[in-house]
């Protein structure tokens, strides 16, 4: 009798286990019924009314398309991942407030550290988390392969006449496999900053080429160590994650050379590659940068410069200037800005300002409900409009892919809603932004780089090459390898993916 009970229990356990194993299959198998020929909410919007799409986008104040209200019925709020801390994103906050004013839909921006962007995005999409309606992407081009399957394409939002309003290379960043999967929030221009007072006291002229820049760093470093102490340096930049390779790319562009060759090969053997690598690693080998920078993240390098430990910072986001101007005026007023410079004095001037531009973008998860999708599409439309991009460029100091903004830059200063900017700063608990009336070095730099930017598209294997590059760089910086050995090993990894 007892044996039969034990058998029953074992059977019960087995059945329970099978049921549990089967549960995810059924849970995951639930499909939305196809909505026959019914139009999706965003298809019901008259995107070209009351004015044509380009006219709506380029209006001084963004104009919502007709039919938007019915299309977002029931949507009270939505959430999106904001790359970086929202407290430094005054333009995003302004845009959120303005969008809320226009539509009555509340937006939650969830801050996301750049290094966690892909892990969080990936986890959110794979888990089909319906609480997140917009996915932040800072390097969309090589992330699209894995995640495109989870994203709603927004092809209908990029008709020819709208695409023509933006930098023609934007498609490389935001599209994959023939479809558009994202919208630009802001373009991030990169500039070199230096402390004017240090350069003056060290008797150094503002450099006009990257080779001159290296010489200037050497002199400033010597002056700083003699006058301020051994824990002060000529320069700072961060090495881990994506930052070092960004700096390397800039130095390649300064030599009028792209990282990806015409045959699609990443070439680390070239003379230019060695020049760029050595420019960076020499800063360590010669003690012009703190050794700790090998472990510095983006903000660590910014803080190091901000607290007065380094005379220059390379490849820092341009908005950094605006942030310091408003939040730490004593630092901001002492900062000079330079675009990426041509390599040497002998090179043509048009090589100045050749730079990369990062595209902070937002994608739309496929699995959220259609009304929320439509609300996020409207948010996308607002963000890329002249009004949205004006806030990014003039108030915050970002670059932009919107060509009209730079063509009419002088007129845009009068159009900024500074009261809204002050209100946004108040909500963020930061000092109000500096009310700019003309383009200073930051905005001029962004304008140049927006025009001359090179948008090379790196393929999905790229993080593995980048990690190897960082590893080998640290080996050379700490004297464990030579430049030639290091680049050879990076090349070997890069070639395995061809």
């Amino acid at each position: 009798m007892m044996i039969s009970w034990k058998k029953s229990v074992v059977c019960a356990v087995a059945v329970a286990a099978m049921a549990l194993f089967a549960l995810p299959v059924f849970a995951g198998g639930k499909q939305e019924a196809p909505a026959a020929a019914e139009l999706k909410p965003w298809e019901q919007i008259e995107w070209n009314k009351p004015k044509s799409w380009p006219e709506r986008l380029l209006a001084d104040k963004y104009i919502l398309p007709e039919g938007w209200k019915q299309a977002v019925e029931g949507v009270k709020e939505f959430s999106f991942y904001n790359i970086g801390g929202i407290e430094t994103d005054i333009a995003t906050k302004m845009n959120m407030m303005r969008f809320e004013e226009l539509t009555g839909i509340k937006i939650n921006a969830i801050p996301l550290a750049p290094r966690f962007t892909l892990p969080k995005t990936l986890s959110t999409l794979v888990a089909k988390d319906k609480a997140i309606h917009g996915i932040g992407m800072n390097n969309p081009s090589y992330n699209f392969t894995p995640i495109a399957v989870y994203l709603q394409d927004v092809d209908h939002m990029w008709p020819e006449e709208v695409t023509a309003l933006y930098n023609e290379n934007l498609i490389n960043y935001l599209a994959w496999d023939g479809h558009w999967y994202a919208m630009p929030v802001a373009a991030v221009g990169h500039l070199n900053f230096y402390r004017k007072s240090w350069f003056e006291q060290a008797g150094v002229e503002v450099p006009t080429s990257m080779l001159e820049f290296a010489e200037a760093v050497k002199k400033v470093n010597q002056w700083a160590q003699e006058n301020l102490g051994p824990d002060h340096y000529g320069i700072v930049f961060s090495v881990p994650s994506t930052e070092l390779f960004t700096r390397y790319r800039e130095l390649m562009y300064a030599q009028n050379k792209q990282v990806i060759g015409p045959d699609g090969r990443l070439d680390f053997y070239s003379k230019e590659a060695q020049n760029a690598f050595n420019w960076l690693v020499d800063m360590f080998r010669q003690g012009f940068i703190t050794e700790d920078a090998l472990n510095f993240g983006w903000m660590d390098a910014a803080n190091f410069f901000g607290v007065g430990k380094a005379g220059a910072i390379t490849d820092a986001p341009a908005m950094f200037y605006g942030f310091f101007q408003s939040q730490y005026p004593e630092v901001g007023q002492d900062m000079g800005a330079l675009t990426n410079l041509k390599w040497s004095e002998d090179d043509p001037d048009e090589w100045n300002g050749r730079s990369l531009i990062g595209a902070n973008s937002i994608g739309l998860p496929k699995y959220i409900d259609n009304n929320h999708k439509t609300a996020v599409m409207l948010w996308f439309d607002y963000l890329r409009s002249l009004e949205g991009q004006r806030n990014e460029a003039i108030v915050e100091g970002n670059a932009s892919f919107l060509l009209h903004l730079w063509e009419t830059l002088d007129a845009q200063f009068n159009m900024v809603d500074w009261n809204l900017a002050d209100a946004a700063a108040k909500e963020l608990g930061i000092n109000p932004p500096v009310r700019r009336t003309k383009a200073g070095p930051m905005i001029t730099g962004n304008a140049i780089q927006s025009e001359k930017s090179l948008l090379e598209v790196f393929r999905p294997y790229f993080p593995e090459v980048q990690d190897k590059f960082n590893e080998e760089f640290a080996n050379v910086a700490t004297g464990k390898a030579s430049t030639e050995e290091a680049l050879q090993r990076v090349q070997e990894i890069a070639d395995t993916f061809r």
Binding site: M1, M2, W5, K6, V9, A12, V13, A16, A17, L20, F21, L23, P24, L118, P119, L122, V126, T145, P146, I147, V149, P230, D231, V239, P240, S241, T290, E291, D292, L294, N295, G297, F304, V307, K309, P460, P463, E464, D467, N470, E471, E472, A474, N475, A477, T478, K480
Partner: protein
């Protein structure tokens, strides 16, 4: 069949009732542990890169794992780090636990003080120590220079050996309270008469520690060491914040190897192999030791 016979037919024995009671728990365990492990095992034989499913590949991922330089490097670093962290935490925990048993007044206060750093997550400890050990702005260099112990600032997080040691210190800082509480609990169970008799026999502190404290507390000591070793062998939290695995790959913990495969290279097939091998590595060490500890306890 009489009514009492019918009742007896459905009567549950004590063991049967016991088994029945474990069913819900067992089912949850199957769903939350057995299912993911089973799924992971299946995945380890698949090509599943960048969310593209490439089908069955046999032992290809395992072959890659054993050929990978990162495997040998990260396992070696994990072993050194985990032994160092558990060892240091054990040593300090042991001293603190002994000291706590000697405290007569304000015992609650001192115990609270000891467990405070337990509240700090390892990743946060990594961030705290990152700034303490900063070469140019860190507290450690400042203190060392005030006492004239160094001529110039030390780059703790850049020197290969010091970076690993820094990780060990930052980790031990978090696990010392756990060790202290665990060992102290064991010490409290040793009857004071044992020490009194030993003293009468002329034993000094070292003899009392060697012949009474350690043998009677060996189970707690081993178990607490094992738990911390296990956590630190597989979890890279501290290095994630402190060095990110660098400089170069000087602190490339096995957990970071796994995290990179999942979140940077998005290669779930290979990541499954690494996670399985991590489990196997921990299991190979923990199982015989745990068996020994529990058998000794019995």
């Amino acid at each position: 069949m009489s009514q009492s016979e019918r009742m007896n037919k459905y009567k549950l024995s004590d063991s049967g009732f016991g088994i029945l009671c474990t069913v819900p728990g067992l089912a949850v365990l199957l769903a939350l542990v057995a299912y993911p492990i089973g799924y992971n095992l299946v995945l380890s034989f698949m090509s599943y890169k960048r969310l593209v499913f490439g089908g069955f590949v046999g032992f290809q991922n395992y072959g890659w794992f054993f050929r990978s330089k990162d495997f040998y490097l990260s396992w070696r670093i994990s072993a050194l780090y985990s032994l160092g962290s558990a060892g240091l935490a054990f040593l300090v925990g042991m001293i603190l636990a002994q000291a706590l048993t000697a405290v007569r007044r304000g015992r609650a206060f001192f115990r609270t003080l000891v467990v405070l750093s337990w509240a700090i997550p390892p990743v946060l400890s990594g961030l705290i120590w990152k700034w303490i050990l900063n070469k140019d702005m860190g507290l450690m260099n400042y203190v060392l220079s005030v006492f004239s112990l160094i001529d110039s600032n030390v780059a703790f997080l850049v020197n290969t050996n010091l970076a690993l040691l820094s990780g060990i210190v930052a980790t031990a800082y978090v696990y010392v309270p756990f060790m202290t509480v665990f060992i102290n609990a064991g010490l409290e169970t040793i009857p004071p008469e044992f020490y009194e008799v030993a003293e009468m026999e002329g034993a000094d502190e070292f003899h009392k520690f060697t012949f009474i404290t350690v043998p009677l507390n060996i189970k707690q000591m081993l178990f607490s060491f094992l738990v911390v070793w296990m956590f630190t062998f597989r979890t890279p939290d501290v290095f994630f914040a402190l060095t990110g695995g660098g400089p170069g790959k000087a602190t490339y913990h096995a957990g970071l190897f796994l995290v990179n495969l999942i979140y940077r290279y998005i290669d779930f097939g290979k990541a499954a192999v690494v996670s399985i091998m991590l489990t196997v590595s921990v299991g190979l060490v923990v199982t015989p030791l745990a068996f020994y500890i529990f058998r000794r306890a019995d």
